[in-house]
């Protein structure tokens, strides 16, 4: 009949297989800690925020777009409808709820903006929690973008330096389809000048916002 079974008769491989099987069986009862707990270095974040390393200004962003930089991704966190009405050139629309699953890479330079800036800051926190080290917000959000880039104003009693600065801002505003407001004694209540059409700005080449047409290539 069959040989009597004995452990010592087994080859090394069979012994290892038996060991793996045993460990695998035991693992059925394993409750490994795999909590969704995230660890944030609170001190590090506070330092970044304090040193204003968490945002870019409208002027900086405008400069990148004019220069055709392609090393950043600009994320518009507002609704699709708002995005369709107007968005900063090169921006992609990713709503706040879609952000956790958005195809962003942890090593990309990501600039987030919302209407005012609160949603962007919250989204920034989410991305930092996910390990994105290169995330920024647009300081002041779209409101600041309108104020600084699209519709810069020149006070009537402006100094020559202010006028010179305004000239440069006006050129930038025209590039983005905005309208500089010279000599305006506008109050805050004054009605907003008309927003540029989405297509209007002569957006710099280089960084295009949506790449669906590229999908065919490379397969």
């Amino acid at each position: 009949m069959a040989m009597r079974w004995s452990w010592s008769r087994l080859s090394l491989n069979q012994k290892l297989a038996a060991g793996a099987l045993t460990l695998g069986l035991l693992a059925l009862f394993a409750r490994p800690n795999r909590g969704n707990v995230i660890t944030l270095d609170v001190k590090e974040l506070a330092t970044i925020i304090d040193k204003e390393g968490d945002h870019v200004t409208a002027g900086e962003l405008g400069g990148w777009i004019v220069a055709g930089h392609a090393d950043y991704r600009l994320i518009d966190l507002r609704s699709e409808k708002e995005y369709a009405e107007y968005h900063i050139p090169t921006a992609e629309n990713v709503t706040l709820t879609a952000l956790p699953d958005a195809p962003l890479l942890a090593n990309e330079k990501i600039v987030l903006y919302s209407e005012g800036g609160i949603h962007a800051s919250q989204a920034w926190m989410l991305l930092r929690a996910k390990g994105f080290k290169n995330a920024y917000t647009l300081k002041g959000g779209l409101d600041q973008w309108k104020e600084d880039i699209l519709f810069p104003t020149l006070a009537e009693n402006a100094t020559p330096q202010e006028r010179a600065r305004f000239e440069r801002a006006a050129a930038l505003a025209k590039f983005f389809g905005g309208s500089p407001q010279a000599g305006g004694t506008q109050t805050v209540a004054a009605k907003m000048p008309e927003m540029p059409k989405v297509e209007a700005p002569a957006a710099a080449a280089g960084a295009t916002s949506t790449p669906p047409k590229k999908k065919k290539e490379g397969c």
């Binding site: 793996a20 099987l21 695998g24 409750r31 800690n33 958005a102 290539e217």
Partner: protein, 201 residues
Amino acid sequence: MEMSAPFFKYGLFGDEASLLVAFAIGIGFGFFLERAGFGSARKLVAQFYLTDLAVFKVMFTAIVTAMLGVTYLAWMGVLDLSLVYLVPTYWVPQVVGGLLLGAGFVIGGYCPGTSMAAVATGRIDGLVYALGIGAGTLAFAGLFPVLRGLYLAGSAGAQTLPQLFHLPYGLVVFAVVLMALAGFYGAGLVEAHFGARGERS
């Protein structure tokens, strides 16, 4: 017990030191690849002729060993699994890339890691293969603006089998062990069948 791993995430060493650690692990990886015979393209391509399935067996053994180790370390509370980096799933580029790598494996007789082991032992074909990897990497980097759409297609985030199939973690571990053991048994049968007929090289 206090959680203390992954060491890097807990700040046991910094970015620079992590490169040294990676170097040491890489050397160890290469050493064992070479000792398993994987520094030779003949041994590696025997896999595709079904005469010698050592590659399958070694790789699956490594997977099961690492899986059991990670499971038990996490169970003991030493390793925080939620801090272990998971490669996010982009299924389109990963399928395309997998097929490309497979084709390169069949044609060149190496995969990236084994080609380095082959270079280390002075094999010319391994060197040619490694140069090809460098050229391909540069070409990819240069074409990245064009390939970006493909690169990001089919994003599904970081996925794990327990989450995907809604199964308990331990059950998946056990199933993978069973799969491996069945695979090893099957590989033995395949080798006995094809290996006996094939010419010994």
